[in-house]
Every structure is written in C-alpha cells, then in structure tokens.
C-alpha cells in the first residue's frame, strides 16, 4: 500500500486535514473524512454528475479527482450553499418549488451544476438551460421540474444582483 499523504482542503469554509492514500478519490474524501454525505456517487466514471462540487469556484466531478489533487483548494458541496439553517439557496428553493427532485439522489450534483451554470450564464434561454445541465443525469423527473427550477433560480439570482 502506498504511503499516506497529508492533505488540507477547505470544505464549506472549514479546513479539513487528513492523511490519504494517493488513490483515494476526492468524492470518498469528502464523504468519509469531511462527512459531506450530500456528495453522491452514482456512476464513479464521470458521466452522471451526481458527485459534482465546486473546487475553487469551478464545478468538478469529485469521482474523477483524487483527494491529493484537491490539496490546498476550497471546496463547496451542496451542504455549503444555504446561507443559514432557515434559508435555502435560490437554486435549492427553486428545486423545491418546481418539483425538480423526486428521489433526491441526483439532486445535490444538479444543484451545484445549476449554481455554477447560472454564475457563468445568468440569463439563459431554455435551450441553453437544457444543454447547460445535460451533463447531469436524473432518472425520476424527466427533467421537467429541473429545467423549470433552473429558469426560476436564474430569475431569482438576477434579482439578487444589483
């Protein structure tokens, strides 16, 4: 077994230090060491997007990265989006309002992907939404509620921006 390597990762504004095997994926590190179990693994080969997190502000698939590659970075998971326990992030709120989730398993990855997508494209057309979120798979909703939620969240976030 390879020697363990020290890593320090800031996860949702809290610094997590750990000794990890080089082969430990970032997803497993986040789930098992940082206890962010909202990071979901549904394919572990980089297609479904369920494990999507923000790494230094950019949406990445945490199943395709090793924890050692995240050393020194800032990670935001779905647990880190809501401003406080009484308030949801506009994207989370929109998913609830629009029935953008059923079983909820793909939802954390979708919410992170949508948040990143709207950061890059605050005023998307429906066609841009559909292609912008096509990197995440959902098996329950037929994407109807997810597209509607993205639309609603875009409007809400635009309103937040002065």
């Amino acid at each position: 077994m390879a020697d363990a390597i020290p890593v320090s990762v800031t996860v949702n504004n809290r610094t997590r230090r750990g000794l990890v095997e080089p082969r430990l994926t970032l997803a497993d590190f986040l789930r098992e060491q940082a206890l962010c179990t909202g990071v979901h693994l549904a394919c572990e080969h980089g297609v479904c997007g369920s494990c999507t997190v923000l790494m230094d502000g950019e949406a990445v698939r945490s199943c395709l990265l090793f924890a050692v590659q995240a050393d020194g970075s800032r990670i935001t998971t779905v647990e880190g989006l809501a401003p406080d326990e009484q308030t949801l992030h506009p994207v989370q709120e929109a998913f609830r309002d629009c029935h953008g989730l059923q079983c909820g398993f793909c939802t954390p990855g979708f919410i992170i992907s949508v948040a990143a997508f709207l950061e890059a494209n605050p005023n998307p057309t429906d066609d841009e939404i559909r292609h912008g979120i096509a990197g995440n798979l959902c098996r329950c909703t037929g994407y109807q509620g997810i597209v509607a939620a993205t639309r609603q969240a875009a409007a809400a976030l635009r309103e937040e921006q002065p």
Partner: protein
Amino acid sequence: MSSTAATAVRYVGQSVKRLEDPRLVTGHGRYVDDIMLAGMLHVAFGRSDLARAAITRLDTSAAEALEGVHAVYTAANLNHHNDSLRSSLHPPETPAPPANMLADGDVRFVGDPYVMVVAESRYIAEDALDLVDVEFEPLDPVVDYEVAADSDTLVHPELGSNLAHDLKVPNPAQREVFAEAAHVITETWHQHRQTNVPMETRGMVASWQPHAGVMEVWASTQSPHELQHIGARVLGTGEHKVVVHFGDVGGGFGQKIFLGREDMAVLVAAKLLAVPLKWIEDRRENLLASNHARTEQMTVSMALDADGHFLAADVDQLEDDGAFPLGGPASPGAMATMLYPGPYRMGPVSWRARTVYTNTCGRGAYRGPWQMESVAREQMIDRVAREMGIDPLELRRRNVLRPDDLPYLVSTGLTYESTISPDKTLEQAAEMIGYDEFRAEQSKERERGRYLGLGIALYIEPTSMGMGALGTESAMLRVEVDGHVNLFMGTGSHGQSLETTMAQLVADELGVRPEDVTLHQGHGSGYGFGTGGSRSAVIAGGAARAAASGVRDKVVAIAAHLMEASADDLEVADGVVSVKGTPTASMTLAQVAATAYKDSDALPPGTEAGLEHTARYKAPPAVHSNACHICTCELDPGTGQVTLLRYVVSEDCGVLINPMVVDGQIAGGVAQGIGGVLYEHCVYDESGNPLASTFLDYLLPTAAEMPDLECGHVVVPSDTPGGHKGTGEGGAIGAPPAVFNAVADALAPFGVYPNRQPLDPDTVLGLIASAGN
C-alpha cells in the same frame, strides 16, 4: 366510517410543496451509503466474466492473506444458508433456478457473483478480488432467447428445460371470427433489453447483535417488510429479530422490491462475522447484474371488419427471464397477454405466454412490467390503420370503449369498472396536440422534404392490485401529547413523495396541516408490501385515511365532552377543534391530546386513554387508470436522428392528491419510455458479453433530449376511498408505443415500417436504406 360530517377537503388536490425536500436539496438526506457504523467493514463481489463456464479452480488464500481483508466467502462457506430465498410473490411450488447466493461450481451469466470479500475498505476488498485464483472452463452459452426453448444447452440443468413458463389459453370463438373476418393482419413486435437504472444503486448495511440475535439493516429498498420477511428466513430467525431502518432511497422503478442474492449474502456474512458490513453496488454491477427487463416479443393477429372494427385477436408473447430473475421466475407475460385488449372492444382473444431462461442477467420488475401489451397493441393499431388506409385517431375512435360499454368484461377475464375514461383522454390528448392542424402541417412539410411524425398510445392500466401479499396496507396513526401526528406505514417511498401525499390525506381527514404529520416507514410499521405497482395512493392512502378517520372520531368525541358541545356541531381544521359558526369556542388538537394522555379522568366516560388508531385497507382486485400519450417528432433522413417536438399526456388517475407530484410521476415515466425507444439498450454480443457496462454505452436521456411535457387531466373518481387511482407506472407504459408510432409515421413516405426497437440512428438509416427493396 366517521360519525360526524367529513372534514372539508383543503389539502388534497393542492400542489403542496414536498415535506421531503428541505433535507434532500441541502444534502442532508440519509441514503444507505451515508450510514457509517463504528468498525464497519466493506464488501465487494467477484463476478463472472463469462456467460457460462465451469469453475475448475477457486483458491482464495492469497486474497485472504492481504492486509485489511477479514473474510473471503465462496459457495462452499456461504451457501449452506440458502434456505428458501423465494419472494412473497413467488409460490413455493413453482420450479425455480437454484437459489444460490454465490455461484456454486459453475457460472451462468456475466456478472454472476462467485466470491465475496470483506475488508476494511472497498478499495482493499477490490484489491483482494484481484488476488482470487480462479479458473474457468468456458461452455457454450444460450444467449438468444428466441431459440432458447429449443436449445440442447441448458441454462439450469437442474430444471431440465430452458422453458420457464408456457401458458396457453385458446379461445374457439376467436378462431371462428378469424375464419370469417374481412381482414386479418399479423405482425411480431420486439422490445429490447433495458434496465431500471435508479441513480442510487442497490446497497445494504447490516449489523448483527450477537446474543440479542438481532439483525439491524439499513437498505435501499422499496419494500422494507419484504426485506424483513426474507431476511428472517435467510438468517433462520424470527421477523421481530430483523430490524429494517428505512431512510431515503434513490429510486428503484421495481429493482428494489425484491432482495438480490448479494443482499442475502451480506446478511449472512454480517451474522457470521458479527461485524457491521456495508455493500454498495457500483454502476458496472448495477448495469450488468442487478436486473434487466423488456427483452420480449409479441406476435399479434387482429381480425377487423371492412369498416375497421376490431373483431378478435390472437396474442403470443415470448419473454427472456435471463438466468436468475430477480424476485423469482414469475413472468409478467400472462398479464401482458391478458391485458392486450386494452381500452377497446377487442372481441374474443386467444393468448399464449412463454418465458425462457438464457445465460444473461435476470429479468426483474421495471416500471410497468407488462407494458408489452400496450406496446404491441398500440403499435399494431397504427400498423393496421396504415394497411387499411384509416387515420390512426379515427381507427381508435371507432373501437374505443365508451361509457355505454361500461362496466366491461374483457374476453381474457378482466373486468373494467365504470370509472374508466379512455375515450375522454383520447379526445383531450388529440385536442391538446392540435391533431388536425398537425396532420395539415405534416403533409405540407412532407412536400418540402421534412419528415414529421405523430404517434398515439392509449391504454388502461390495472393499478393498486388487491391480491395476495399485495392486497393490503396498514397505517398506525398516533397524535402525540403535543398534538403532532406520527404515521407509521409499511410503504417504501423512493421518490413518490409519500411523506407529503400521505400527510395531505391525513391532514384533510383529521383536520390538521400536512406539516403536522410525519410519515415513518420501515421498523415499527405494520406489514405491507411496500411501494411499487402504482399501489400506494389507493392502498396505502386508504389505510392512512381510515386511521385518521378513526382518530378524528375520538378527537371530536373528547372535544365535545370537554367543550360541552354536540359532536355534530364540531369541525376540525388545521389542528383546531371548533364549534361550527362559533370559531371562538374552540380547543387545539394539542389540548385534546394532552387530555387524552395526561388527564384521562377528564375524558368522556368509557373512553380509552390515548389518541391513536390502526387501520388496514384491503384493495379491490384492481383500480384501472387510463391515459393517452401523443407525441410528434422530426426525423432527419440524412443522419437517422429523431427529435421529439411535442409531447402531450391526458390521463385519468381519479382524484389527484397532489397535481405536482402526479405530473412528476408521469414525466419520469415518459422519460424512461423515450429513453427506451431511442437510446437505452443493454447489448449482448453472441458470446453473452454485455457491451453496455457504463453510462457511456448505456445512454440515458438528458435534459437536452427531453421535450417539454404537457399534461392534461380527466378526473373520474374511482370507487375507492378518496376516488384515487394509481399512476406511478403509467408514463413508462404509454411513452414507448407513442414514440415508436411517431417514428413509424415519420418513416411512412419511405414505405417502410419498423417492428423492433431501439429506433436509434443506425436502425432508422437502415430502414430508410431498405426502402424499395
């Protein structure tokens, strides 16, 4: 039921926001992989890479010696716990493949588990699998289900045949009609192998408590009681010793109703080791070895008179059961053939249903397991319409069941109740899509070289089937001391929103708000078969209503006594009992509850202390829902690409509990149907190697492929409490033939007609190339 007037309907029918969502959108759901117990070890299975082979050598010593490995199990040290592994729906007298947890002596499909490693991490467990010294002697497999029945090679030599079922019900009247009919048209329709693909794979955490003899289980299941039931049998203990914790479940679509061989192996190993074990199936395992479905064909002959009236039908179904069907070799073929007449006056029907074993992944339930009836029938109707030169909508109008026909006794023995409305959903969908306008546009565009198509699918779905183990559900409802309502049910909600919809039913019946009701599933609930088969709204809902009604009677009786009012004058709403017309004269449910528990001397004489009621609802044999799907598409003859343009659904699921949830169920089913016809395919090569083992090969539809869905509702209440009908599976039943028919229609100018799926670009181009041959 209730001695006083029913509480007003306030929440049923509203798109109440889901009570599940705050935890799920913030990452605080609790799925099985989120359970982490002290000292927990991890399981990985070694699986066959060959479709059929003898195991000639199996030495696990090197794997056992790896640091971090705690145990390596094979058939030799695990399978003696094989006692009956049969599901509740699988009668003990029917022949079945050997119920081995691990392959014993030979492997019978790619993915067949033959070794199980328990180690300190999944990483180490998989390292150890590489050290298992195994040798196979390859044998010729049976891969093609069309020839399996006649093959000398047997998938299960113990059974003496590859034919699992052969049920024949000839009808002499059908033959007589065929002999005289103006038209008899025959076609064989093929579906192709698909799989459920819940986003959360299967998985289990099992923790044995020695001496107590208790097995605690956390599982991704649709049926916590089936798990308890089979788990107790596998472990040789009482059901009260198997404690099933039910958390969030990331989809199932039928895959998580029954226990798999791996689930049972994990339970047994957890007991042998007395250490908590976790097994989380990976996606490759899920795609190769959980369950497949829809590998089937139906040969249909239909007799018609000169005006296109259906006169009789002959239906012959053949389905692939794979090697080890999940949940047992029960086949939906009999249902598929019996349901073939669908929402039409079909006349006498003869039918036959066969199921065969092959060296492939076992068949399992997949949303609408017998939807081949609608696939074959609706595709056949379009085919017949083309052949007879009748518009497909008009042909359906001539034959659809109308109110005057109801109740209707189908030739195959089913009875449709008077509360179905196929004619209404047909007309509503036709209006929504703008049928005549589309036909005009279509013919105009064809002249310009644009190939548009429209497909219709009309169906009736038996939901909430009240038979055997499926027949009932229970609800235990308790108003706690502070007035909050705890509801314990045998369901297994895995996306269906039962925490919200059951709360809506209770809210109206009892007179509280939905957020005052908490649904508890799994341990502590009364027996029920769980969630699947479009059964929860009617059967579980019936139980929830009855339990709430029982408690409401008591609430009103206690409040009447305390308020010195007549029970008939009281109403209960939003947790407050008040005198009708005098809202100031009131008391809260919490005050009633406090009296019931803590001041029982103040209760009406003879009233039992406490505030709870348990009820069990028995469903009728079936509650039929119906729907019509119509979609339009454009076909690119250069690339073979099909783009869906519009998709409308008109459905009748009776009284909608939560319209948002109903539309969501329909949309999910439609997406699976679209995926099934156009993209998804579990391909095997002729040696039995599965070629779709990742999401790069097994293509799920994404948001970019899904059209906007437009839903219309026809509401004819059922005769069951509340007037609901099941709707969970319907989308996946109607969508495949609607999409297929749309593509077939777009291909009409080429003079070709498809009879098999998938309709991927290669297939479509092949059909176009064959035009004129």
